[in-house]
Symmetry: C2
Subunit: 453 residues, 2 copies
């Protein structure tokens, strides 16, 4: 499969230059009336302003203008953490087995069973369906935290990147941008070899893993380096991965302090260190804004300080479903971390809901309102940032997540006449979208100027 070829076909096929306008929208991070955007034949935004150009300007370079009417025009959403195959167990983990304590760990067993059953075709099919649902929910770029690498017994496919290729093909066929977060996984825990169900997650060695990543990069695939967690990766390998990522200029993602047990085991293995401290000691946090701590729930003050120049990726619906707890979003934001969002288990695919829960869960914790509100930025824009620019930054794609000159036209529209938005005054529209909304009003979806929905 030639990725470049299909990528060009799907994401960058030449088209005519054109312009878009709508009643309201967010241009370069600010809520505006009458956004107007010109997009060139390659799908890149070449002009962004409020209001139509003056008549002489229009006459000089006439291009077709798509008037999106009463719609709200927003940047496409960035989903910074997904396990697409887990879409296959939506609704399938809510019955108690006899004597089942029903925790994250029993959920994980059900998830492992699903992971065992998938071959290349099955993985493609569920990933494609999942990515298609994402696109429909307004997501235009996904960071797929991909750890289903090899045959069920851990043996390599003829092409060691067989399953990665299925993820790439699914994204490509659907027309969704992909950053493939290639996961390194080596063990069940400290001095514990992988469980049988974990064998297919594990590369035979770090060298095999790095060779796979090299091969993907050589093909132009957008990749990130993802040590699964401090449980699954030992410190020497964390150091090597940090070195590799730094030399290659790649982002790093890892699960961090999702469950208390993870912290306890980490302390036992690493002389009392927290997972965040282990990542720091391994060099993973050396480069600002290059690391994303997924979850970062059970963190202390020292962890918060270490993550202040990095990203935290929150996944509130999954974190509730699995009994993980509430991401201390206000604490992270106050110290300077950027908060991105992920659909994670994909039981629910709705980044508007994830963004809302960032704030709402803080309200539940504190008994107060407007917890993530800052003097310099309205709450609704802070939440939209999490679903857009912060996710783009987490994925190393600072060009995405915004409607601005030089960015690709990855954009969505929301139907203002949807029952959830009808009758809301224009000045409160973005607040209603971010604090009381969902993905249901998402109407059109564009990726690189191409309409995908």
């Amino acid at each position: 499969m030639s990725l470049e070829t299909t990528k060009q076909r799907q994401l960058a096929a030449p088209a005519a230059a054109r312009a878009f306008t709508a009643a309201h929208g967010v241009l370069d991070g600010a809520w505006v009336d009458a956004p107007y955007l010109e997009v060139d034949a390659a799908g890149t935004i070449v002009r962004a302003q409020t209001g139509l150009p003056s008549a002489p300007d229009r006459d000089r370079a006439p291009i077709p203008v798509h008037d999106l009417g009463r719609a709200v025009l927003l940047p496409g959403l960035i989903n910074a953490h997904s396990h697409a195959f887990q879409r296959s167990i939506r609704g399938a983990t809510h019955r108690a087995a006899a004597g089942d304590p029903s925790t994250f760990w029993s959920w994980r067993q059900a998830m492992y069973s699903a992971a065992q059953r998938l071959g290349p075709d099955g993985l493609y099919a569920v990933t494609r369906a999942c990515f298609s649902e994402m696109l429909r929910a307004g997501i235009t770029c996904v960071g797929e935290f991909h750890y289903l690498h090899h045959r069920p017994d851990g043996g390599l496919y003829d092409d060691p990147n067989e399953l990665s290729n299925q993820i790439i093909r699914a994204a490509d066929d659907v027309g969704l941008r992909l950053v493939l977060l290639e996961v390194f996984y080596q063990r069940a825990g400290d001095r514990r070899p992988p469980l049988p169900e974990q064998r297919r997650f594990c590369d035979p060695s770090l060298d095999v893993y790095l060779a796979r990543v090299d091969a993907l990069r050589a093909r132009g695939v957008d990749v990130g380096v993802a040590p699964h967690s401090v449980r699954a990766v030992a410190r020497p390998q964390l150091e090597q991965l940090a070195d590799y990522a730094a030399r290659a200029g790649l982002v790093m993602h890892a699960h961090v302090s999702e469950q208390p047990l993870e912290n306890h085991e980490c302390a036992a293995e690493h002389g009392g260190l927290t997972p965040t401290q282990v990542f720091a000691a391994s060099g993973c946090l050396d480069r600002p804004r290059s690391f994303s701590a997924v979850h970062a729930i059970h963190v202390d003050a020292a962890d918060l300080a270490l993550l202040a120049a990095q990203h935290v990726c929150a996944c509130p619906t999954t974190e509730a479903d699995l009994g993980d707890g509430i991401v201390p979003a206000a604490d992270h934001l106050t110290r300077g971390a950027r908060i991105a969002l992920g659909s994670d288990s994909n039981a629910i695919i709705d980044l508007f809901q994830e963004a809302r829960l960032l704030e709402m869960n803080e309200r539940l914790r504190s008994g107060r309102r407007l917890c993530l509100s800052a003097a310099e930025r309205p709450l609704s824009l802070t939440l939209l940032d999490a679903a857009t620019v912060a996710g783009a930054s987490a994925l190393g794609r600072a060009d995405l997540g915004k409607l601005a000159v030089g960015a690709p036209f990855d954009a969505i529209t929301l139907d203002r006449d949807h029952p959830t938005l009808a009758d809301v005054a224009s000045e409160h529209l973005l607040d209603a979208i971010m604090l009381a909304g969902s993905a249901a009003p998402v109407d059109r979806v564009y990726v690189a100027g191409h309409r995908r929905r």
Copy 2:
């Protein structure tokens, strides 16, 4: 306005007998394949079974069968707690004023401002829009907790039930069943007269209130008695309201322990009693299953015991929005209380989401999963009960909330091909609907056999 006349026109217009069948559904509280329901000309279910009748049966009494195909057929949802007019401030309460501590109490000021602005026509318009959105979200009956009674200065309209009539008219025009929970409100708090913004909530006396309720009952309006809260109603009046409700056989609803301050003020006024204890001491809890404690968040063990034979009405999205806290749903259910659901502030109208959050917020609190699961009933059915039969019971309408012989055909269908439900195996469908779903897949909505959406 003659309610009976319009009610008959809208909810009980004669129609031909017919039958409905679908791929899956919940019949009389149980998940089944191929539900089959016969509905008479009055809209009442006269036969309920799985699978089509045998050929001889069909030939004996041939009636048209509406095959709803792959749809999931569920009872219409019951919204046990709504303030329809608050729909007008959706999205309008998430900006901090200078020095605003941003709590429930500052939110209340914004809500009061909206309440002040509404005349009869305005109240009708916002209520109609709100009820229409409810119907579209699969709600077929609402308990409107109605406290906007009089002119802004507290003076009576020519018809003292003018604003109640607007609520009735809105429900009637939309085709939604209504239980009008007429609120009694008399003060800002212990020895504090109503604030200017609260004057229109207050009847000049309990007698005027009771005369209004009598007049509504005489017209056949389905009403409940609703002392607003222990803050707004003194103990002698609570006792009189309990007497009246008992004699008339009406349900009672009240806000109970939504905010800690409410508990503190109650203890100060009532010699250390909690709000629940004050309602109990006033006779409001004497009749089993006649009282609904709305919220019941900040409750102690004694409160839980007192509410065990009553209803708790949880409103999770509002309770998060306002920083109220998490309803201890597992504690209430374990002791025997029935948990109903409300859309409350109507910032969000989605009882599937409210039901899900009952469970998900417990997971966030406890770090465990399947918190509301009981040996005798699958979790998804417990959550559906909250959105249906428990709400019906809370509203004194035990005939509603179920698809069973003798009940009106108040029913909804969910589109199984909606992206959120596509590819989910039939055996996990109800779990996906209740634990990972939303109102978005709601397709058809029937009230008393009439299609309303």
